[in-house]
């Protein structure tokens, strides 16, 4: 009963009394930040950014192969920003514990189907507690400068899960420092708020024609990119769910495509006169639309 009530509160985003929320505010979360890369943080994709702000949800995407070392070395990071009037000039502890949602995180996702499971929260891991300083402006600071605070994601199980897409809710909490304690106490955590995220897991960094970051053309100086499309990422991760290697992933995708009743063979394709990017865009539209119909 209590668990159900808590989850209901979480999903409706009215979990806490307003007065308690005001003590410490979570302002943003970045799953990729400044010079971070796909070995220690999220891949980049289009048209969304792997960032969260209040009253929204966010996407993040991780390469299983490329984050292996970071997970083993506790090097996987996110960056969060906090505001607190009450703790100006003081230090506090913050952390986030994962919760598996009971329904889709939003009806507005590009792939609005429930993607969760019993083990979703265990796959993502948890955001390790961190002691941080609140500046005189009320903002979280590093070296007296208002800053996003890097925090470690620990106990992630990306490799065990394989390819997939799942929703996770992070329950953010804070704790005042008490004299004589060198670490936070288990029974002293207070809730800040929750944040909702859809997590994609791919086997390794996407290859041609995809790239997650723009790169500068050495001849004309222009930035060039073929960004990862969130729609395509949704479908690929769902179709190849559980794959642990490329052979498994390719077979799952080929079989799903063949069996999905989306297309019919014709020697004369309606896409064949298009250049490859246009062709792919048309195909993606078809797959996306029809996949949604299949699942709704």
């Amino acid at each position: 009963m209590l668990k159900g009530a808590i989850l209901h509160s979480i999903m409706s985003e009215t979990i806490l009394p307003e007065a308690e929320i005001e003590v410490v505010q979570l302002q943003s979360i970045d799953f990729s930040y400044q010079d971070s890369d796909h070995t220690t943080s999220s891949l980049l994709f289009y048209p969304f950014s792997p960032s969260w702000i209040p009253r929204n949800f966010s996407y993040a995407a991780y390469s299983i192969e490329d984050t292996k070392a970071a997970i083993a070395d506790r090097g996987l990071s996110i960056w969060a920003r906090f505001l607190s009037e009450e703790f100006k000039g003081k230090d506090i502890y913050v952390r986030a514990v994962p919760i598996t949602p009971e329904k889709a995180i939003s009806e507005e996702t590009v792939f609005p189907v429930f993607i969760g499971s019993e083990y979703a929260k265990d796959v993502f891991g948890e955001v390790e507690y961190k002691r941080l300083s609140i500046g005189l402006t009320g903002q979280s600071i590093i070296d007296n400068i208002d800053s996003n605070i890097p925090m470690k994601i620990i106990n992630s199980k990306f490799a065990e899960a394989g390819v997939g897409v799942f929703d996770v809710i992070l329950n953010w909490q804070y704790q005042e420092l008490t004299s004589g304690e060198s670490a936070p106490l288990d029974d002293k955590w207070k809730n800040i708020r929750t944040s909702k995220h859809r997590i994609f897991l791919v086997l390794s960094v996407p290859k041609s024609p995809w790239t997650d970051r723009p790169f500068r053309n050495i001849y004309n100086g222009d930035f060039t990119k073929s960004p990862i499309w969130t729609e395509a990422l949704s479908i690929s991760c769902e179709w190849a769910r559980g794959a642990k290697n490329i052979r498994q992933a390719g077979r799952k995708i080929a079989d799903k495509l063949n069996e999905s009743s989306i297309f019919e063979y014709s020697e004369n394709s309606d896409y064949s006169d298009d250049t490859p990017p246009e062709k792919l865009q048309k195909i993606t539209l078809d797959v996306d639309y029809k996949m949604m119909c299949l699942f709704l």
Binding site: P47, S63, E65, V163, V202, L203, S204, V205, P206, K207, S208, P209, W210, I228, W229, E231, A232, L233, I235, S236, C237, W239, A240, A243, I246, R247, Q248, A249, G250, R251, I253, A254, D255, L257, N258, S261, I262, F263, E264, Y265, S266, E267, N268, S269, D270, Y271, S272, P276, K279, L280, Q281, K282, I283, T284, L285, D286, V287, Y289, K290
Partner: protein
Amino acid sequence: MNGGNGTSDNVNCVDCALIVATMTNLLGGNLLIGNLQATDCTDYSLPDTQERNKFSLNTIKAIGKTIEDTMSSLGESDDSDAYFSFHCVPWQPADPENPYFNDPKNIIFDACVRFVTNEEDGTTTSAAGLELGADDDASGYRFGLASQDNDGVSRCLR
């Protein structure tokens, strides 16, 4: 990107290969696209290219079609076998540093067709995740796709 339904349901082998390769490569795959055909000629405006390149097929089921419709649309009749004038497939190179399409150890991921294992009850098996295989490799992709005679399996690789 949010324009709703796309253009059509009709796809050919090139489209299927492109979808599988791009979706798999999004997950970190290194799939390439290649054509199975008897010669190097790809100029289908020449009158004899189709005849020079074609290879005959085993019984297969094309995406979205019945077995009967597949075979008749590919030219099967009382007088002739079904055939492809070429067939495009996505493949994972056995040697990523030196990818070579004819390497029998390459892995093929064909979403365009399934192999028919029992014509009477219509049982089919996946044509994806198989090694390209040599002419006589019964577990290979080519052996499943092309007929086991002089017009088939030996002609579907140039």
